[in-house]
């Protein structure tokens, strides 16, 4: 297998949710290697981690996102793809932390209080981490105090907030206000399907991104 072939293999595994060899799903790929094995193999072959990230993982997740919004696939397939991406990321992580790819800064992320949706937040966390940031993931249903604690523990970090419900947009607004009051100067990036540039302006956050790729560009520009 050459570099292009193995990158395609990884991308296919992520797109169709083949996590590893043992995974029974999808049935058509039963017994074959998955994202886990192919990524390990690619690194052994000398493929650059950054190429695996961009050309295999992110491009596959773009296709998954596209199919999801057209309702060609549904939540279960989306979750399995995210899991396959996670399995590949495990192998890439050491390269990011070892400094082969230099850490650009710290990014704290969480889904706001009252909201339990974490698929989008997890993708953002994985892709931002893949782009060379140290990510501190606070999970779901995160209240102001927990964000503020994490900010105090990680001076200089940028904070990302995710909300998927119109009801929790209100909680996002309150958390932004609390952080701005207690930790002036900290930069806040918001995202999630119902959130918008207008909403960002309305609640006084610093940036909005509709997807993880633009979020990376934004983050990089904030520390440049």
């Amino acid at each position: 297998m050459n570099q292009e072939e193995i990158i395609n293999k990884i991308a296919t595994c992520v797109e169709f949710g083949k996590v590893n060899k043992a995974a029974p799903y999808p049935p058509a790929m039963k017994g074959e290697d998955g994202a886990d094995e192919y990524t390990k193999h690619a690194l052994e072959m000398g493929v650059k981690p950054i190429d695996i990230l961009n050309d295999a993982l992110i491009s596959a997740m773009d296709r998954v996102g596209e199919k999801f919004s057209q309702k060609k696939i549904f939540v279960p397939q989306m979750l399995i793809s995210a899991k396959a991406m996670g399995a590949a990321m495990e192998h890439l992580k050491p390269f990011f932390s070892s400094g082969e790819v230099k850490r650009k800064g710290k990014f704290i992320i969480g889904t706001v209080a009252g909201d339990l949706h974490d698929i989008g937040k997890n993708l953002v966390a994985m892709i931002v981490e893949g782009a060379g940031w140290e990510v501190i993931d606070l999970g779901v249903d995160v209240k102001s105090a927990k964000f503020i604690q994490a900010i105090n523990d990680n001076p200089g970090a940028i904070v990302g907030l995710s909300a998927l419900l119109t009801t929790t947009m209100e909680s996002m607004k309150n958390i932004v206000a609390d952080i701005k009051r207690d930790c002036p100067g900290v930069k806040l990036v918001i995202g999630g399907a119902p959130v918008s540039e207008d909403f960002k302006n309305e609640i006084g956050a610093d940036a909005y991104s509709p997807d993880p790729q633009k979020a990376v560009v934004l983050l990089n520009s904030m520390v440049a």
Binding site: K71, F74, V75, P76, I80, G114, T166, S171
Partner: protein, 294 residues
Amino acid sequence: MRKSIAEKIAEGQVLISDGAWGTFLQNMGLQPGECPESWNLKHPEKILSIAQSYIDAGSDMVETNSFGGNAFKLVHYGLDKQVHEINKAAAEISRRAAGSEKHVLGSIGPTGKMLVMGDVTYKELCGAFKAQAIALAEGGADALVIETMSDIEEARAAVTAAADNTSCEIICTMTFEKSPEGEFFTMMGVTPSDMVATMVDAGASIIGANCGNGMENMIGIAKEIRAANPDIPLLIHANAGAPVFKDGETRFLETPEQMAALISNLLDAGANIIGGCCGTTPEHIREIFNTIHK
């Protein structure tokens, strides 16, 4: 003795259900992050007034304030040890409003846990739904409505647990979204026709759709369910249109008149029981009543 809902439908009656609970509670002062079901114990008089307002508007049946009353949801509020107490109270309150003639539909919503991700086992789901169903029946529910479901296996667990452990009539509704190609799926990929066969098999005697859509889309969903099964009693709980987010609030803006204007189409599509979901109020139900009984 009170006839069952299914018997009334078999006689050709069109029945009227109730409107929203969640958005009603918010308007009464339920705070974000507060447990809606805790109000059954804290503010029973407010819950009674909601149930009563729907009965007064002409509903033949009223739900209970127990949508999130399963142990998996209540644990977020430290109330998972009170499943029985909370659900029993919910049913008792709605029964007080409904009297002996009208129906009390014990509401059972999803747990928020995902079987596909291994968050929970099928058996654990059955156990949680069983506890809730028994308490609702004990409190006086004569029907149980398993609603807003998106995963067919979770819905099956709830229907089976309810049917096996109570003598209530079992209603199951799922929430569908329209694809760009105009087909309906739940977010887990279940179609209205997929749902019918599975739920009837599991023990549901009334099938339908709730939430996620206004009247217009519900007509398409009703047609699809009717095409899959010509006889099954069909319940539709439509939202008052699509949600609009403005000034920190979610609003559903379809008026009672706008909703009522589509009732005859919904009946033609095969619906037998009509009520409302998010954003609908006693005024919407009254207008539906007036349209059906004019």
